[in-house]
């Protein structure tokens, strides 16, 4: 997750901006406002120490800092340096080279952006809201002035003025030296010095450029809009914003073209004297690298990619996307051509806007919003108008040429994400070309008379928007990837889709085809009986899906009217959101340790508090059971410096560790209790209790923290229900005594099974001993339920067992009060429960307790589910 720090000379400005964003974008976004100077922070200025505090307070692993100007930049840089040194004391002497590149500390990646404060902050926040990371947010922030510029068109004016200046200078130069008719030479360089082409190296290039009789231009190949700069303008070079690791192309014309290129090559090779080795990249080598390196996600000639689930049955339809031929024509009236071209862009934009309206879900419509932005890019349109004007050529040709250049830029990107975006560029290219060439602004509706399976060489997002979905049974493509925008759209539209090149080879016009978008299986011209099977399967799937979707958020009530709470196991805010979507009635297990496992440093109280409150807020008031730190065992936490044990599962883990490490437990409990103020239905659960004293000591600790918070006047929920996990055999025998203290019980079946069966769950050879449907485990669960209910305590269950349909029937029968599971299993389990009847489940469960092996139990359950409910394999 990404957090945002806003730095302004004025505290009021920074805070108001934060308020504005929270109102416009989202209340819960992790944003910290910094600003003002002096003790009261009421003087204008910025304070690096405040920015450090902001960095420390944000629990996110990525942070983007946006500031106004002047000292806000200096203070931010200073804060970053100090933060780095504080967290990496061993390498404190960084004075030699402070890189402005992303600085990864303790898994925190922090960047300072030059984006405009207000626009940049809003664009970045939208990216955070969409769940995107630092890189995308930074690109968006840096480009956040584009919409405004295109609306007000003043950047065009600026460019016009600048261009006039450049032109007049160029023509002056041309008069001086008329001999630059020589062939143009060019070379691509990778810039390696830490600060990129900042002022000093840029100045060096200007020097070189002016000492040769050659006209040199530079181009940053790693910016989406390739800006060009004359090599004799310091400003223009600086505006290329060439960062470390980016490629520039240097073109040279004139008598000393080669010499000047050589001189620049030498300078870049020695890194402008700034140290660190360098790589020269000749043009041809660059071409080699343009092929994507990471092809994992793309279907090779043999593999089948299951892109979008669902079964498709039907006749195939080869979609002929007529390749639009573009010819180069000379035109007589460039002004008119440009005007027409602009109209075409307008119609294309209108088409896209109509498609945005078509996709109601935000994420999907954003795909087309991005297309709209690309189309509206004033730089691009200017270049094309210029091309038409100067070369007196038709707009289709100018458009194809320019767009091809842009496409190849994306295509050659190192990032898989950006490479996939080249498909979007192709989509825009074809959309505009179709309007230009067919002279019709009608959308590209494909004509077909009956519902079919559509076959594509390659699918584009606009194909999906253009097609009449009632005629699309499924889609097969020869090329594609799981992450492309068209694949995302297929999934969101529920259109079954696979990418299968060898299937495409086999298929002929009129063929019948069946395929399963979940498994990738397919059959061409299936026999009558086979077809029937597929049809049946499809109907079952469809019915199930409908039922699941319609009822996911309803409570799970059995036929006899008994309600079973179906809760989610979660580890973070994302899980919490998913569990709400999947219809969880609450959270039965919030694993707080996940927040500790992936970091090198123990999160402090504030960080934990932020994280926990976010999760609680995401659950929108429904019940949340927070389990205190359960580390040790298989969950090692590197930052704690805990010694490795011989028998970790039988060692210092869960509450045993917490009671030994109060330095850890205390702030952890404070964070949980503070976060409890966000909720009326928070409960605390203690893991790994194996004797009564474990629980009472934990209780004591919680009370201490409560009194502390109370005396500090910090709001929290009190009294708060406190319960425990039942996962050790000893706790089962002590349950009556434990019930005196514990408000509720939750059975952890994974550990309970391994301890009962005395078989390590990390040894694959002992897998057969890990089946929680073993009669020993089931009898144990039944004992727990009976004992707890006798004392009026509720029993939940939160192991993997809960999501097993067979187990559901038994656990329901044994009287478990609620089940907590992986959020994705919830709709399925709720649906199954609605088909059960308490008495029947009870009878069955008690009967199963008499069995002597898990295999017998599973066989019996399979038969039961088959006869009484549904297909057990699903």
């Amino acid at each position: 997750m990404l957090g945002l720090i806003l730095v302004s000379h004025s505290r009021a400005l920074a805070q108001s901006l934060r308020d504005l964003i929270q109102k416009m974008v989202g209340e819960t976004l992790p944003i910290v406002a910094c600003g003002g100077s002096g003790e009261q922070k009421n003087e204008l200025g910025t304070d690096a120490s405040e920015i450090i505090k902001a960095i420390e307070s944000l629990p996110t692993e990525e942070i983007l800092i946006l500031g106004d100007m002047g000292s806000s930049i200096l203070s931010s840089k200073m804060a970053l340096e100090l933060f780095m040194e504080a967290t990496e004391p061993l390498e404190s002497d960084l004075s030699e080279d402070i890189s402005e590149e992303a600085t990864a500390i303790q898994k925190k990646t922090i960047r300072i952006s030059s984006a405009p404060l207000v626009e940049g902050a809003i664009s970045a926040s939208l990216q955070i809201q969409a769940g995107n990371g630092l890189n995308l947010a930074m690109i968006e922030a840096l480009e956040s002035l584009l919409p405004k510029q295109s609306q007000l068109e003043d950047s065009n004016l600026l460019k016009q003025v600048k261009q006039e200046e450049i032109d007049s200078e160029l023509s002056k130069e041309n008069r001086e030296d008329d001999s630059n008719l020589e062939e143009e030479k060019s070379q691509v360089f990778l810039i390696q010095n830490p600060q990129g082409l900042h002022a000093r190296p840029a100045a060096r290039i200007v020097q070189i450029a002016s000492s040769f009789s050659a006209e040199l231009t530079l181009e940053n190949l790693d910016r989406p809009q390739k800006r060009k700069a004359r090599a004799n303008s310091l400003n223009q070079i600086a505006l290329l914003e060439v960062l470390k690791g980016q490629n520039i192309r240097v073109r040279a014309k004139g008598r000393q073209a080669q010499e000047s290129l050589d001189a620049i090559a030498l300078e870049i090779q020695r890194n402008f004297g700034e140290g660190i080795g360098v790589k020269l990249k000749p043009e041809n080598e660059k071409l080699k690298n343009e092929k994507p390196k990471d092809k994992k996600e793309e279907a090779s000639s043999k593999t089948i990619l299951a892109v979008s689930a669902g079964i498709a049955i039907g006749q195939v339809y080869f979609v002929q996307k007529s390749k639009i031929q573009v010819s180069k024509k000379t035109i007589s009236d460039p002004k008119k051509e440009i005007q027409q071209f602009k109209n075409v862009i307008l119609s294309a934009q209108k088409q896209i806007q109509a498609q945005i309206a078509l996709f109601s879900k935000r994420a999907e419509s954003e795909i087309f919003s991005a297309h709209l932005l690309m189309l509206g890019d004033p730089e691009l349109l200017d270049r094309i108008s210029e091309k038409i004007q100067k070369e007196k050529k038709n707009s289709s040709w100018a458009w194809s040429e320019e767009i091809e250049e842009l496409r190849s830029l994306y295509q050659s990107s190192e990032s898989e994400y950006l490479r996939q975006r080249s498909k979007d560029i192709e989509d825009i290219r074809d959309r505009v070309l179709r309007i230009l060439e067919t002279n019709s602004s009608a959308s590209n509706k494909m004509s077909i008379s009956k519902p079919s399976i559509w076959l594509f060489e390659e699918l584009n997002p606009s194909d999906l928007a253009d097609m009449d979905h009632s005629f699309v049974l499924g889609i097969v493509a020869r090329r594609g990837s799981y992450t492309s925008h068209s694949s995302i759209l297929c999934r969101s539209l529920g259109i079954p889709c696979i990418v299968d090149p060898s299937l495409m080879e086999k298929l002929k016009e009129e063929n019948w085809l069946v395929f399963d978008g979940e498994t990738g299986k397919s059959a061409v011209n299936p026999s009558e009986s086979l077809l029937k099977e597929w049809q049946k399967r499809k109907e079952i799937l469809k019915k199930q899906e409908e039922e699941l979707l319609s009822s996911a958020r309803e409570p799970a009530v059995s036929l006899d009217g008994t309600t079973l709470a179906i809760l989610a196991n979660i580890g973070n805010q994302r899980d919490a959101k998913i569990s709400i979507e999947q219809g969880a009635d609450g959270v039965g297990l919030f694993r707080t340790e996940l927040f500790f496992l992936d970091r090198e440093r123990v999160p402090n109280e504030e960080e934990q508090y932020q994280e926990f409150s976010q999760v609680i807020r995401a659950m929108q008031g429904s019940e949340v059971i927070v389990r205190t730190l359960d580390i040790g065992g298989d969950k090692e936490v590197p930052s704690l410096g805990i010694q490795k044990e011989e028998d970790p599962f039988l060692g210092v883990r869960g509450i045993r560790l917490c009671l030994k490490r109060k330095d850890l437990f205390h702030p952890h409990l404070r964070a949980i209790l503070r976060a409890s103020a966000e909720s009326k239905s928070l409960k605390i659960m203690i893991p790994m209790v194996s004797q009564v004293q474990d629980f009472t000591s934990a209780l004591e600790e919680i009370k201490v923290v409560h009194r502390e918070l109370e005396s500090e006047g910090i709001d929290h929920l009190w009294p708060i229900p406190i319960g425990m996990m039942v996962e050790t055999p000893s706790s089962v025998y002590l349950l009556e005594e434990l019930a005196e203290h514990s408000d509720f019980f939750s059975i952890g079946t994974n550990d309970l099974t391994q301890y009962l069966m005395s078989a390590s769950r990390v040894n694959p050879e002992l897998d057969a001993y890990q089946d929680a449907l073993h009669p020993a485990v089931l009898r144990c669960i039944y004992d727990i339920v009976k004992k707890a209910h006798k004392r009026d305590r509720k029993v939940s269950l939160c192991g993997e067992l809960g999501s097993d349909p067979m187990a559901l029937v038994i656990l329901f029968g044994l009287g478990v009060d609620s089940l907590s599971m992986n959020p994705s299993s919830i709709p399925k389990i709720k649906n199954l429960l609605r088909k059960l009847e308490k008495g029947q489940a009870q009878k069955l469960a008690l009967e199963l307790l008499e069995y002597s092996s898990s295999i017998e139990i599973r066989n019996k359950m399979k038969a039961f589910l088959h006869h009484h409910v549904i297909d057990p394999s699903s």
């Binding site: 910025t46 304070d47 690096a48 002047g70 000292s71 200096l74 840089k77 200073m78 600060q195 900042h198």
Partner: protein, 207 residues
Amino acid sequence: MVELEDLKQWILNLQEVYTENKEYLTDLDSAIGDADHGINMARGFNKVKEEIEKGTFSDVPSFFSLVGMTLIKTVGGASGPLYGALFLYGGKAVAEESQSLSAEDIRKIFQKGYDRVSSLGKSSPGEKTMLDAWKPALESMEKYQDQGIQVMLTEAVQSAEKGMKSTIDMLATKGRASYLGERSIGHQDPGATSTFLMLETASKIWR
């Protein structure tokens, strides 16, 4: 040798110097900047004085770090992080727990501080900044450090003054003054001036 007490006296004197020169520095700044340099420096050193008098330092590095952090927190403008860096990092040039400074130690402290200021501001001499006073001063310190603190500082102050005056003819390319472009020429840089004052005050106290 410069003892901790001398360092303290230097700062206490600097507070007076910057308070006396508040308007002078602000006037210089109003020609090419935000008209706040004098106010900012005076505010910063008032707070530094308060902190120093609390006496929460035990050696040279902790002294410099206290001054640096206080400036960062209270000066506000660009000179906050810049002078802050000068002190904060400068103090790291000598051994932990050092109680006194030789001529060479003094040079090392300013040199290290200078390097950080230069990298933080992404600037080098010739851009009409405080570096234009520091650079010649440091060169003199290197040259005269073997002749004792007094000689070294006297020479350094003279060089700093020359450096400060050389900024009058310079074109600003960094900071607020750079917005003025050619119009920044003809004015003395306030940052170079406050640097000169800093060194001049030291030379009067450290013997």
